[in-house]
């Protein structure tokens, strides 16, 4: 059981992602400063959109679209960072 502690931790992360629709939609610190100081207009949108602004495209229910975006991102990042760490560790063993 102890070796699978990360499964429980990953489940906690997914629960956190499911709380995302409750998040405040007010502008964040930088956006607020950019609005107040009058340079928010300089910002450019990305040239393409995948899951822009954490809302999965094509789903009417915004809470559901946000949760889906959160779950995808959480799993992608677990996989990416786990994979990177695993690669670095295996490479170390080969060169050692």
């Amino acid at each position: 059981m102890k070796s699978k502690w990360w499964l429980i931790a990953l489940a906690i992360c997914l629960v956190v992602a499911c709380l995302a629709p409750l998040a405040s939609s007010s502008p964040d610190g930088l956006e607020r400063v950019a609005e107040d100081a009058g340079f928010i207009g300089l910002g450019q949108d990305a040239p393409y959109q995948v899951i822009a602004d954490y809302v999965f495209p094509g789903i009417e229910n915004e809470a559901l679209a946000t949760i889906l975006a959160g779950i995808i991102g959480t799993l992608v990042l677990f996989g990416a960072a786990y994979g990177l760490a695993w690669l670095l560790k295996t490479r170390k063993r080969r060169t050692a």
């Binding site: 992602a17 998040a23 822009a52 960072a81």
Partner: protein, 212 residues
């Protein structure tokens, strides 16, 4: 604090991209040498947790919100170099998949929220636990103080980049960024302390890995 494209000029983009690329290169080398068996899944968990937690904007004064950066938590649990790698993974995915933070601004975002936040948090945590003792109390106080400073200092560097880019004068953007992030940093401190408390209660051995 994710900078979109358009806020930074070419010189700032080039400089921050070069520094961050060098930082990631150094992190790959050092983490590759030091990483232990137990730390591989922890890297994945921290990246997943930081991504999820960053979606939870909490309200701060005056119709503004903030979210955690998470670099302090990663730096305390895994060291500053691993934290730079974790933050880079999160920021790259946010920019590429979720259009949060510009592509050209990625270097600046990795510098502020990855390199500055991770290293400042790590050394401030070391200092506070040295002063307060490496016990439960010291860990929680150190986590709170380190997390607050990581947000505050990241926002100062962000403001410097914006001012150097000519988006806004120093005298306007520096106090504004520092002021609002001094508040957001309290949230970062409380959440970092709460997660460290949970780790101490369930997997205190994870905090010991750093000392070996």
């Amino acid at each position: 604090m994710h900078i979109p494209d358009g806020f930074l000029n070419a010189a700032t983009v080039a400089t921050t991209c070069a520094v961050s690329a060098g930082g990631i290169g150094g992190a790959v080398r050092i983490v590759g040498k030091k990483l232990g068996e137990k730390q591989v899944p922890l890297m994945g968990i921290l990246a997943a947790f930081i991504f999820a937690a960053q979606m939870l904007n909490f309200p701060v004064a005056g119709g503004t919100s903030g979210h955690v950066i998470g670099a302090a938590l990663a730096a305390i649990l895994l060291g500053p170099w691993a934290a730079v790698l974790i933050m880079s993974c999160v920021l790259i995915a946010q920019s590429l998949i979720f259009q949060d933070g510009g592509l050209l601004a990625l270097g600046a975002n990795i510098f502020n929220m990855g390199i500055v936040a991770s290293f400042s948090a790590y050394y401030i945590y070391k200092l506070v636990t040295w002063l307060a003792g490496a016990n439960r109390r010291g860990t929680l106080i150190g986590g709170f103080v380190a997390a607050w400073f990581s947000v505050f200092l990241a926002s100062i560097f962000c403001a410097i980049e914006l001012a150097l880019s000519g988006s806004s004068p120093f005298g306007v953007v520096l106090p504004a960024m520092a002021g609002v992030h001094a508040l957001i940093g309290i949230g970062e401190g409380l959440i970092t302390g709460a997660v460290l408390g949970l780790v101490l209660a369930t997997r205190a051995d994870l905090l010991q890995l750093q000392r070996t």
